[in-house]
């Protein structure tokens, strides 16, 4: 067992002649909140897509708790314990809030129910449905969304949609949670609310968080350590304060 939850070794990908990311080494400890920042087009979301199996890395590899996840499908990587949210919210819009979270619970071991059991309406089907509903409501309660459990996801206000996306990802019982710009488009009040939620997550769930964010105030307020990317390569790494005061980082952000 490695001491790191997530470890990437020289992770990189090229699209034709474009090297979107290369030589990225991340080492994230258990229970950490880790930030991944960088200017637009630096390859942050690409890294997320590599880690969740949307893209297959052309160089390097990555490990979750010492297990190599390279070349696995997205579903499989999710089973292994990496869940994510998206930069532009991707909820199941025509389903209720409760059902969104229940989809997240779909693959949990304790809610196993074969298709034959569902079709024949055997007792297990009813038991599993009942338990899933209860568990989903519990998760929604943590995010303060239980009042809205019956509304369609698309009718939620923006900040709550973001929260629901995190709730759904958490329902899959991840070891590592990837948040892609969770505070994008939020007002200061919502951002503060989100910050509290993320910290609550760390306390309530046994989860490590890797997040992409442009709001540097948010990042410096919440992240233990960060990595700064530019043009697909790491330009600084370390504790939030160190990395943000690195001259290379300042150059990348505001120019010289």
């Amino acid at each position: 067992m490695s001491e790191f939850v997530l470890e990437t070794q020289n992770l990189g990908i090229s699209f034709g002649g474009l090297r979107a990311a290369s030589g990225v080494n991340l080492q994230i400890k258990k229970g950490e909140i880790y930030g991944l920042i960088g200017p637009n087009g630096a390859g942050k979301t690409t890294i997320f897509n590599l880690l969740t199996g949307v893209y297959q890395p052309t160089e390097g590899t990555f490990f979750l708790n010492g297990k190599e996840l390279r070349r696995m499908s997205q579903e499989r990587i999710n089973h292994e314990g990496i869940a994510r949210t998206f930069q532009n919210i991707r909820l199941f819009n025509n389903m209720t809030v409760l059902r969104n979270v229940m989809v997240g619970l779909h693959n949990r071991e304790e809610f196993r129910c074969s298709m034959a059991e569902s079709l024949l309406r055997l007792p297990r089907h009813f038991r599993v449905e009942k338990e899933m509903k209860a568990r989903a409501l519990e998760i929604l309660k943590i995010f303060d969304l239980h009042e809205e459990s019956g509304t369609l996801a698309c009718n939620l206000p923006y900040g709550k949609q973001r929260k629901l996306e995190i709730a759904r990802a958490l329902a899959t019982d991840p070891k590592l949670l990837l948040l892609d710009e969770p505070a994008a488009g939020m007002n200061p009040h919502e951002t503060e609310d989100l910050r509290r939620t993320v910290e609550l997550l760390r306390e309530q769930f046994d989860v490590t968080i890797l997040l992409i964010e442009h709001d540097l105030k948010f990042v410096s307020g919440i992240c233990d350590r960060i990595t700064v990317l530019n043009f697909g390569t790491v330009i600084a790494q370390g504790t939030t304060k160190e990395a943000l005061s690195d001259p290379e980082v300042i150059k990348a952000y505001i120019g010289k």
Binding site: Y55, E75, F86, N94, V103, C113, M132
Partner: protein, 380 residues
């Protein structure tokens, strides 16, 4: 009593209605009060309901546009019809022959569903529609070009006719089976996964839903029931002709689903009944030279429904007098109070085919194949 409280009556309403209709008509046949044309119409309506409900699974819940449903039905009709024609000498024209041919027709259609499900994993929206359309035409043309001894070729396959008087009962029992399987599938965790794929495939994948598995299951289940409908059809006809299963028929099934409201099983049932009834009525009323008007009137009615379906007045009317309100009134809200009411409109989708994944900006899902890692020669 407590158990009764959580029993979702609404979900069993359609079984009850169909069962009641079935019993009423059965009694009427047994007492000899039903003309042959009515039983024939009932058979046709039952077949349409099975087709519409099964297509509704693919279009309304899986969110894939399939235009080849008549193709699956064609496979079922020809293979089931052939099997029954072969068995009728040894086993007689009884229920056993029917069940064996039903099973074989369904299984063969299911295999076709699997085959057409495979490209569906890669194709989206319009492209899948074209592929399924082509599938339907290919199947039809294959059967059309068979020799006279095998499947009858252009003349069509001669099939045995079941006892006409009671066959509609079998058809309606099969409607109930279809409803049971498809509704039980949809209102379960597996159905939830299928609807999740419809709503957002990328998110479904990221949430760990096995998209490949559920898409194939959706296509196979729909195809099996279309195959069943085909076998039933072959039993209502003395001759199965490939010309029946052209793309117009596929579109007609799709019309039933769309009119009924995508993602609504009860809607599909009502629309299938209405469309089939309308077609039959027009075919009998308009005879001689007027027969050409049939398609025209049919089209006009469809256009009117599409236009007025969304009119504010009708929406207000529906808001006031719908099943939910009526039901709430009857039961005086006894059953409708749950702590977390999730019986809401989760299964109703806007009437459009989603192009979400094609238009996404944050990343391209497939198509881009990363280069292989470069060797030493790239350094120069």
């Amino acid at each position: 009593m407590n158990k009764l409280k959580h029993f979702k009556w609404k979900r069993y309403l359609n079984y009850t209605v169909i069962a009641v209709i079935l019993i009423v008509f059965s009694v009427m046949t047994l007492t000899g009060g039903l003309p042959k044309s009515t039983t024939f119409n009932l058979e046709k309506i039952a077949i349409s309901i099975i087709l519409a409900v099964s297509l509704s699974l693919v279009v309304g819940f899986l969110g894939e546009l399939s235009l080849g449903h008549a193709g699956f039905m064609c496979v079922g009709a020809y293979l089931g019809g052939k099997v029954s024609a072969l068995l009728v000498d040894s086993l007689g024209n009884g229920i056993l022959t029917f069940f064996i041919s039903l099973l074989i027709g369904g299984i063969c259609a299911g295999i076709c569903g699997f085959i057409i499900g495979l490209p569906a994993l890669r194709l989206k929206g319009d492209y899948l529609a074209i592929t399924t359309l082509a599938f339907g035409e290919i199947v039809r043309t294959i059967f059309q070009n068979t020799s006279d001894e095998t499947f009858g070729g252009a003349i069509g396959l001669a099939t045995p006719r079941f006892n006409q008087k009671y066959f509609f009962i079998i058809c309606f029992v099969l409607v109930l089976v279809t409803l049971a399987v498809i509704q039980n599938l949809i209102y379960s965790k597996h159905g939830r996964a299928i609807t999740a794929i419809r709503d957002n495939e990328i998110a479904a994948k990221a949430t760990g839903v096995n998209v490949t598995r559920y898409k194939l299951i959706g296509f196979i289940v729909a195809a099996v029931f279309a195959g069943f409908a085909g076998v039933l059809f072959s039993y209502t006809q003395s001759n199965v002709s490939s010309a029946t299963f052209d793309y117009n028929y596929s579109i007609e099934i799709l019309v039933m689903v769309v009119l009924g409201g995508m993602g609504s099983i009860n809607g599909s049932i009502v629309a299938a009944t209405a469309v089939t009834f309308l077609n039959n009525k027009l075919a009998t009323v308009l005879t001689g030279n007027l027969a050409v008007l049939k398609d025209l009137i049919y089209a006009l009615i469809l256009i009117m429904i599409v236009i007025y379906n969304n009119s504010p007045k009708l929406a207000a009317f529906r808001e006031r007098y719908n099943f939910k309100n009526l039901f709430a009134k009857i039961t005086k809200n006894r059953f409708s109070k749950h702590e977390a009411d999730d019986t809401g409109r989760w299964d109703v989708v806007p009437t459009k085919i989603k192009m979400d994944a094609l238009l996404s900006t944050d990343f391209v899902v497939n198509d881009i194949k990363p280069d292989q890692p470069k060797g030493d020669d790239s350094h120069e």
